[in-house]
């Protein structure tokens, strides 16, 4: 095919529009470099299409230019300049991009997994710490309640002891417990009875001390108490008494006193 024939064939138009490949394109390129008419014809076709394209131009959003420039300035491995790339190099270029993407994804996944692992560990620790602190807080709150109750009680007891109407009855040890000593505070107007142990051995296992009010020779139960644990025991109300006595009874108390176990006695 000579230059004239080539120009008239329509191959040059197809060449410029990217429709020619392989042998046909090679033929055009050969004649283009050897024949000035072919060169001029191609240039004229290019210019006409270029003008048509300019006339059909659409201005893209301004942000696109910044995006393009950002992509080429980023130190991004897939944008690295890799020298001239022939059209057939596209597949390799895409493959290397996907390889890079895959590697980056795996790295990100590993990083994310490690981060999650670390965060889970820390979260677990923080949760445990929170539970521990909640326990401590609860213990402290209970302790505070106990202390508060004790304080109220102590105030009440102090009030009892210091009350003007309160009568103090000294109890002394009997032959069963010569060293024993205790004191009963009896408020006749409110009938309340309190007992302070000064000296008293612990009761045998399964046994408790029991206070009795003696009125006209009859013992009246005034409640049980222990040798230790409290400064002042709050006992049952007593309407009237000429004396108070303490015996050792089964734990929880007994309806009638066991006189053989009497350890304390005192006259009002």
């Amino acid at each position: 095919m000579n230059a004239e024939e080539l120009i008239g064939s329509g191959s040059l138009e197809a060449y410029v529009m990217g429709q020619l490949h392989g042998e046909e394109a090679a033929l055009v390129e050969r004649l283009r470099s050897s024949d000035a008419r072919v060169r001029a014809e191609i240039e004229a076709i290019e210019l006409a299409l270029e003008q048509a394209a300019m006339a059909a131009a659409v201005v893209p959003p301004q942000s696109l230019k910044e995006a393009v420039l950002a992509r080429v300035t980023q130190p991004d491995p897939r944008l690295g300049r890799i020298g001239p790339v022939a059209p057939v190099g596209r597949a390799a270029e895409v493959a290397s991009y996907w390889r890079w993407l895959a590697a980056a994804s795996v790295a990100a996944l590993i990083g994310s997994a490690y981060f999650n692992y670390r965060m889970m560990g820390e979260l677990r620790e923080v949760r445990q710490q929170l539970v521990r602190m909640e326990d401590e807080r609860s213990v402290l709150a209970q302790e505070l309640q106990v202390q508060r109750t004790a304080l109220y009680e102590a105030n009440d007891q102090l009030a009892v002891v210091l009350a003007p109407a309160s009568r103090t009855v000294e109890l002394s040890g009997t032959a069963n417990a010569p060293q024993a000593k205790a004191r009963v505070y009896w408020d006749e107007s409110s009938r309340s009875v309190h007992l302070a142990v000064a000296e008293l051995p612990s009761a045998p296992a399964g046994k408790q001390y029991q206070l009795w009010a003696l009125l006209d020779g009859k013992p009246i139960d005034a409640g049980v108490f222990d040798a230790t644990g409290r400064v002042l025991w709050s006992m049952k109300e007593v309407n009237g008494a000429q004396a108070f006595a303490v015996t050792i009874e089964d734990a929880g108390g007994s309806p009638t006193p066991t006189l053989e176990t009497m350890v304390l006695m005192g006259q009002v």
């Binding site: 410029v16 290019e46 270029e50 048509a52 131009a57 393009v68 020298g83």
Partner: protein
């Protein structure tokens, strides 16, 4: 041939050489000079703006990477650019399952038609658009399908029912028509 357009601030040949040497300002200048023309082509091919914007970015990244591969002996810079644009747009359409080799949509379903659309409001461009609009319908359609839609001669032959040889000769006739109209215009 025509003074329809503003002269380029720098010769596009020189711009491509600078881009090949890693000059980012040259890439920015090249973008300013040709992004709208390329975007027009891409938009006509993919029709969705968000896709077209992605494609346009990819085009200029490819230009940045492959500028060394530009051979002035094989054509003008814009011809090289528009070939990259066309191939990138076709790749995007294929990967979106919107276009398969050999398949072609009916011509009248295209959204943007040369010489009729109002995408470009630039006055000088409007003059050339009027010129394109004066082309015979079959010529305009051939240029549109081949140059702006990127269809192969085989695709066009199937679409139009014309023999391959006729597609070729009619495309030449269409280009001669366009060149004649542009000559009269200037």
């Amino acid at each position: 041939m025509t003074a329809t357009f503003e002269p380029m601030p720098r010769d596009p040949f020189e711009l491509l050489r600078s881009v090949a040497a890693g000059d980012q300002q040259a890439l920015a200048d090249l973008y300013d000079a040709f992004s709208a023309a390329l975007y027009g082509v891409v938009l006509r091919m993919v029709e969705k703006e968000e896709v077209a914007q992605e494609v346009l970015q990819d085009i200029f990244v490819k230009v940045w990477r492959n500028a060394e591969g530009y051979d002035p002996d094989k054509g003008r810079p814009f011809t090289w650019l528009v070939n990259i644009a066309r191939n990138t747009a076709i790749d995007a359409l294929r990967s979106a399952g919107m276009r398969n080799a050999g398949s072609i949509r009916p011509f009248d379903q295209h959204v943007y038609r040369l010489g009729e659309d109002t995408l470009n409001t630039d006055l000088a461009a409007r003059d050339v658009r009027a010129v394109v609009g004066r082309l015979r319908n079959e010529h305009r359609e051939l240029i549109e399908m081949a140059y702006f839609q990127g269809y192969s001669q085989q695709d066009i032959a199937e679409r139009t029912g014309l023999p391959l040889g006729t597609v070729k000769s009619r495309t030449r006739a269409a280009l001669l028509d366009l060149r004649e109209q542009l000559k009269d215009h200037s």
